[in-house]
């Protein structure tokens, strides 16, 4: 296999939990060298599960193992003068610093962009924060829950609600705001790399989680600005963005898209051309969208007597209507489609053992994607990086350790 797409690029990561680590993981799995800098107490994802058999252990967090593949790990306390000195030495020949710390904290540490660019003018600093580097909320705190909801995705979720007081806005599963911020930061970092080809200089890239989610809320904002409608999770209020309602079968749920002309005609064939489908309220695509609740109710009457697989076969395979079943976790790992594609890859981890993990989001024909190097144990590469790379003696490393700097 050829060189990796990002081989030769050097990334220093000073983040925590998911957003910055996920950004750096995307780059590391694609061949960049990533040095993950953790505080001596370790990244907080090490304390966040899930853990095998629910036994917490700093080297057994499955979340940490997932978002930190292919990296080298060092422990440095950048708040100590000696730690800061070692950290700045790491930045000297780096292409990227990916960090996710409060802007004020970086300024107080003397590690803000204006301070570090003196060390390496070509350095690209990508900062991921809840609200960005400017504006009135710059120094406000957020977690996944807050970011998700202030980014506008939670309000219309999960849809089809009758009593909004009893059915609050919902966040999406897992840490979607952090993941979106992470992949946005990876795309942004690569863009800055191309800018450097023109200028020879690095720059500061400001990734705000709220802005990243605002872009994904685009349809809601446009709907408000242009039609004065705000998409909502309340049934019948605003034009919904997620028009599909999960419909029941004998063994679970599915969704399908019925309102486009050719799908509507195909649905008539499936249901045997009943009279109700010829009513004026279903005459065109926009009217069908308006009256989707009626359509879905009628389809539900039909689908409840079939299994998910049967519904998929009749609607999608035989009639080319976009329709897929809602898989549960148990369905995923044994599904023939995912098995044949190798969607889940085997990971071998020194503490966790062998486990199946999500594979890549893309497959390149010419360059490898490789996540087989497990996440580093705490301080695993201190000697490799601080002694062998930066040239400190083992005795000095021991001195650093004693001072708490590493």
């Amino acid at each position: 296999m050829a060189d990796s797409a990002l081989s030769g690029l050097k990334v220093v990561e000073l983040g925590d939990f998911i957003a910055a680590p996920y950004c750096a993981k995307l780059m590391a799995d694609m061949g960049a060298e990533v040095i993950k800098v953790e505080p001596p107490g370790g990244d907080s994802a090490r304390r966040y599960g899930p853990f095998p058999n629910d036994e917490p252990h700093p080297e057994k967090s499955l979340l940490f193992a997932y978002v930190n593949t292919s990296k080298k790990g060092v422990t440095i306390d950048v708040g100590k003068p000696l730690g800061k000195r070692v950290f700045l030495e790491l930045l000297k020949d780096a292409d990227f610093l990916v960090e996710a710390n409060p802007p004020k904290a970086m300024e107080e540490l003397g590690l803000d962009y204006n301070s570090v660019k003196g060390v390496n003018p070509g350095l690209i600093v990508t900062s991921i924060t809840p609200f960005g580097q400017t504006g009135p909320y710059r120094d406000y705190k957020a977690t996944e829950l807050v970011s998700f909801h202030i980014g506008g995705i939670g309000y219309p979720t999960p849809g089809d609600v009758d009593n909004p007081d009893a059915s609050p806005p919902m966040k999406a599963p897992g840490h979607q705001a952090d993941i979106m911020a992470g992949v946005t930061a990876a795309a942004a970092s690569m863009t800055a790399l191309f800018a450097r080809e023109f200028t020879g200089e690095g720059q500061h890239v400001d990734v705000s989680e709220q802005d990243a989610l605002l872009r994904a809320s685009g349809n809601a904002v446009v709907s408000h600005m242009h039609r004065g409608e705000t998409p909502s999770r309340i049934a019948g209020v605003g034009r919904p963005i997620a028009t599909r309602k999960p419909l029941p079968t004998k063994d679970g749920y599915f969704t399908a898209q019925f309102f486009m002309d050719h799908f509507w005609e195909a649905l008539k064939d499936v249901l045997g051309h009943p009279d109700w489908m010829e009513q004026e309220i279903f005459a065109d695509r926009m009217m069908r969208m308006e009256n989707l609740d009626v359509i879905q109710l009628m389809v539900e009457e039909w689908s409840k007597d079939y299994t998910r697989e049967e519904v998929y076969h009749i609607l999608q395979v035989e009639n080319h209507i976009p329709c897929l079943p809602i898989n549960t976790m148990a369905d995923l790992f044994v599904h023939p489609h995912y098995v044949e594609r190798g969607t889940f890859v085997d990971m071998e981890h020194p503490e966790i053992g062998r486990f199946q993990s999500p594979g890549p989001s893309y497959r390149f024909s010419g360059t490898p994607w490789n996540a087989s190097i497990p996440a580093p144990t705490l301080g695993q590469h201190n000697i490799d990086i601080i002694c062998d790379r930066l040239g400190y003696s083992r005795e000095d490393l021991a001195r650093m350790r004693r001072s708490g700097a590493v």
Binding site: L63, H149, I150, T157, P168, P169, H226, N327
Partner: protein, 392 residues
């Protein structure tokens, strides 16, 4: 400062709906020349409603080619030959039927970088399945985890899977261009929206993979934090999200809400007790939030060092003072006689020019420019192919 980062990169954009158009628009805003290939018969897919269309197709050029006509496919090949990147998200096999599959395009441009993205990918027994963000999210297990614990699964109220996939596309394309600049080699990138979604929910996937536990729907709750929820505020359907991550923040919340006694209540004395008694705690917090607007609650808690923020809807985002001060809405022109603001590019760069913002092109607006100036076709050739319904 003079050049945008992606200037000099030309993208032949055969994508439609959301994920592909979103990715190419963001690259267009960063300076890439994006040539959107459209057909009159395909416009319904792209919902050419002015606002929604510009929201995903600003900063591009539009040409119309009937790809079903072999002469149209030939024009498309000439476009690819003049481009660095080709992207498409038709159902599996459609590009091949046009004679525009990777193997065809490689003949005319050996170092082309091509990206294909389908709901479930281009291999496997269900490679022909069509689906949009909802269906891809279903098949990924994501919908199963979304919504309220009781009743049916729910849907995320945004076109989430497309935006997530679109952002991964940009990273993938730029990685491939970087490889091309070093080696001169192009390549073929294949994506599956369902697999992108799977890669974004590692907690639930790995909990099942290792522990055999299906987490189901976790709503707004966290595995350990409490308080951690959305709370009703003054006004119709207004809510504030509050998350307390440690003891210091817990004490700050007690003081900021004027309830220092909560800290001494044995039900809430430590994080574990709070987690187990969070329903009662949430009721008490709601008594406080109901006396305030969502923004008042946020500012009061943030002043004390507690993470909090209003649950914003489309209008709330448009009006949010922080987003407006950051320049997150950019006036780009007039659409349907109304001033139109584009949502800003999702990242800011300190040392590159302002992103290139423009309203979406009209259908075929750049036919002449692209076909003559870029592909070197003559006016007669273009007129003939237009008259014969090839360039429509």
């Amino acid at each position: 400062m003079s050049k945008l980062p992606l200037e000099g990169i030309r993208i032949a954009d055969f994508t439609q709906v959301v994920q592909g158009p979103y990715a190419t628009m963001l690259m267009g805003q960063m300076g890439a020349e994006v040539i959107k290939v459209e057909t009159e018969s395909r416009t319904a897919m792209d919902q050419r409603m002015a606002g929604a269309f510009t929201n995903l197709n600003g900063s591009k050029k539009s040409i119309t080619i009937n790809l079903k006509d072999p002469r149209g496919a030939d024009v498309a090949k000439r476009l690819v030959k003049a481009s660095d990147v080709a992207m498409e998200n038709f159902a599996t096999g459609v590009m091949e039927r046009f004679g525009l599959g990777y193997d065809d395009l490689r003949q005319v441009k050996p170092d082309i970088i091509m990206l294909s993205s389908q709901a479930l990918g281009r291999t496997g027994p269900m490679k022909d399945a069509i689906g949009y963000f909802a269906e891809a999210s279903n098949f990924a297990g994501f919908s199963h985890l979304t919504g309220y614990r009781e009743g049916r699964p729910g849907m995320v109220g945004a076109i989430w899977a497309d935006h997530l996939t679109g952002m991964h596309m940009i990273f993938a394309i730029l990685s491939a261009i970087r490889h091309h600049r070093r080696t001169g080699e192009g390549q073929y990138i294949q994506m599956s929206m369902a697999e992108t979604v799977i890669s974004a929910i590692p907690e639930a996937i790995l909990d099942y993979s290792v522990n055999g536990r299906d987490r189901g729907r976790e709503e707004n709750l966290d595995v350990a934090m409490s308080p951690h929820n959305v709370y009703r505020c003054q006004g119709f359907d207004k809510w504030v999200a509050i998350a307390v991550t440690n003891e210091e923040e817990w004490l700050a919340l007690c003081n900021a809400t004027g309830h220092p006694e909560w800290a001494d209540d044995p039900r809430f004395a430590d994080s574990l007790s709070r987690w187990h008694n969070q329903a009662e705690l949430d009721k008490l917090i709601t008594e406080w939030t109901l006396q305030r607007t969502d923004y008042e609650a946020m500012h009061a808690l943030q002043a004390a060092g507690v993470a909090a923020g209003p649950v914003l809807d489309g209008g709330g985002l448009s009006d949010d003072p922080h987003l407006n001060e950051r320049g997150s809405f950019v006036p780009v022109g007039v659409l349907e006689d109304k001033p139109f603001s584009q949502i800003a590019h999702p990242w800011r760069m300190s040392n590159s020019p302002t992103p290139y913002y423009a309203v979406a092109p009209s259908l075929g607006e750049h036919n002449r420019h692209v076909l003559e100036d870029i592909l070197g076709m003559t006016g007669e050739e273009i007129d003939l192919l237009t008259a014969e319904q090839v360039l429509v």
